[in-house]
Amino acid sequence: MTRVLLACFPHPEALMIAVRRVKEEGAVPVDAFTPHPVDGLAEALGAARTPVRKWMLAGGLLGGFGAYFTEWFSAVIDLPINAGGRPLHSWEVFYLFPFEFGVLMAGIVGAAALLATSGLPRLNHPLFDVQGFERSSQDGFILAVEQPERHPERLRDMLLASEALWVREGKT
């Protein structure tokens, strides 16, 4: 649990400037909370990493090949029947189900990975206790900076000087 200073900015440009200044000041911007994605923000915060797409690829491949294996095993090994004289291993049409199933698995695994890597679902969070944090889902661009051991008020002043509407303390 990190104690942070939360600064709310009226627009993303102000937030981005604040991030740069915070880093110049030697403080650590932990996270930012914005109503919509802001280009470059995650990179500026050093948080531009996610394994979600790798999970999706894995889920999709597993689903697809698993489905194909199911088809092949059932049609060739387990229940070889003559259907209209077609070959048992009718690969020409066996790719369809694996494709559909693979995409479905990629989507489901992706959604699960998104939630899991984001630590969701988590219905409550200490940040929600901070008054005004709800603006982050509407029109407030909130930056969370790790509260420095020394001179926290310098950081606060700096943030206020960077167009912050308010600065409050919180935990994250």
Binding site: D31, H36, R53, L79, G84, F97, S137
Partner: protein, 459 residues
């Protein structure tokens, strides 16, 4: 407060051609979009809509009860024309269900920013349309209680599905598409649910939206993963949606009946689905915009763009029909020639000509700018397209099965009251679900529009 802000936004930002929206701030977006959900006043239109939709839904439920209780025989199918309204309805609804995903994914991938104002309710349309579409193949079965036999599962008969059957592909296509769309739609909705959570004043609403938003905090890290995920989903959705309707096309094209066995069918079904879906989106956009007072967000520029897509779709449809006729003629097979003649001058010829008019000719009016920006023209043409596409689907079933290889088994289809009940009733069910949707969920993707507004204002 909402009323004044709404008026303010409308009055203070005159339409500019290069602007898609007419709001100036993120806050204004929230106010506009959440007003219908949080403000309980002035819902008369909604209640009237719900009443009508509920009535039709009861018709739908009654027809389903009849079909399940008395048997599929209450429909008008006969020994030769074994498929009928449920199949046409299925193809029609799944076509409608195509546009939402295409709008949200294809347009996203191609950076068509205007999609932001319409993608949410288009996706909702997809979801509901696909859900209804999924009902029809089950309803059309002789023993609907065993529909799950199409899935591979350990069973006492020691049997597996027949993977060569287009219906198994179909089963998985619908199922995958429906589940995928739910996931796609829901994850897209989470940030907006968080917004609603934070704007709702009542405890119940806070709990409801709070739970649904899964604790979303708009963190930059979340947004980063979210955007990666969302774009990947969009990239998957495009081939998925194309494959779904291709497989619907294969339901026919994998057969060997004249008029069905045509390689053009899969792409032509995809285009047709997009086409009918866009037409439905136009109708819904007009209704949502009017009903939820979102003129500032869904502007004539959006309609203009969709009308352009429709005229493109209509032209491709016309080419597809021509290709169909050509391959029928070029096949040199008597059955195909005979079927072509039957289409143009046979018993269903009036419907066929009507279909050609609705699907190919009607949209050509959108070459004119005034027509693309005239709401009445837009709605009439869009409804014509939807009727035309339904005619196309029923005629694909009827013409071929009525006029297949052996003249001795040529036949005609006589729809019963239950055919109509289940068809019109499904529209009512769709309307009911949709009305509930716009009352419970934000009809417009707020976070995306906010981003758009921000960029537009900054520009």
């Amino acid at each position: 407060m909402s009323r004044s802000l709404h008026d303010a936004t409308r009055n203070s930002f005159p339409e500019r051609a290069e602007r898609l929206t007419r709001v100036e701030s993120e806050a204004a977006v929230d106010v506009l979009v959440t007003a219908p959900l949080l403000d309980r006043r002035s819902w008369r239109r909604w209640w009237i809509g719900v009443a009508v939709a509920t009535l039709l839904t009861l018709v739908f439920v009654g027809a389903i009860a009849m079909i399940l209780g008395k048997g599929i025989g209450v429909l008008g199918n006969n020994t030769s024309i074994v498929w009928g309204y449920p199949i046409a309805n299925y193809v029609w609804w799944i076509g409608i269900g195509n546009a939402g995903t295409l709008i949200s994914s294809l347009l996203l991938l191609t950076h068509q920013r205007w999609r932001a104002a319409i993608n949410r309710f288009a996706e909702a349309m997809t979801l509901m349309a696909v859900a209804i579409a999924g009902l029809f193949p089950i309803l059309h079965m002789g023993r609907p209680e065993y529909f799950y036999w199409l899935a591979p599962y350990p069973n006492v008969m020691h049997l597996w599905p027949q993977w060569r059957s287009a219906l198994v592909w179909d089963f998985w296509a619908i199922l995958s598409y429906l589940l995928f769309s739910i996931v796609f739609w829901y994850t897209g909705l989470i940030p907006d649910l968080a917004t609603l959570r934070d704007r709702t004043l009542g405890r119940a609403g806070q709990l409801f939206y709070g739970a649904l938003s899964l604790g979303w905090r708009n963190s930059a890290r979340h947004w980063y993963a979210y955007e990666k995920y969302y774009k990947a989903m969009a990239a998957l959705a495009v081939p998925l949606v194309c494959s779904v309707h291709s497989i619907v096309g294969l339901d026919f094209a994998a057969g060997m009946m004249p008029g069905w066995q045509e390689p053009i069918f899969p792409p032509y079904f995809v285009v047709g689905a997009m086409f009918s879906g866009f037409a439905m989106v136009v109708v819904l956009a007009a209704l949502v915009r009017w009903g939820l007072k979102l003129e500032a967000l869904v502007t004539m520029n959006h309609f203009d763009a969709m009308a352009k897509l429709m005229v493109m779709g209509a032209t491709i449809m016309g080419l597809s029909y021509a290709a169909e006729w050509f391959s029928g003629w070029y096949s040199g097979r008597h059955a195909d020639h005979s079927l072509l003649a039957f289409e143009f001058v046979g018993h269903y010829a009036p419907m066929y000509w009507a279909m050609l008019f609705c699907n190919v000719m009607a949209c050509q009016i959108f070459w004119f700018r005034w027509a693309r920006r005239n709401m009445a023209v837009l709605i009439v043409v869009a409804i014509l397209v939807n009727i035309g596409m339904w005619l196309e689907r029923i005629l694909i079933v009827w013409n071929t099965l009525a006029h297949a290889y052996l003249p001795s088994m040529w036949s005609l289809f006589a729809p019963t009251i239950w055919d109509w009940a289940v068809t019109l009733g499904s529209l009512g069910f769709f309307a009911l679900m949709y009305l509930i949707f716009v009352r419970v969920f934000p009809a417009i993707s707020m976070h995306e529009v906010k981003q758009l507004v921000h960029e537009e204002v900054a520009a």
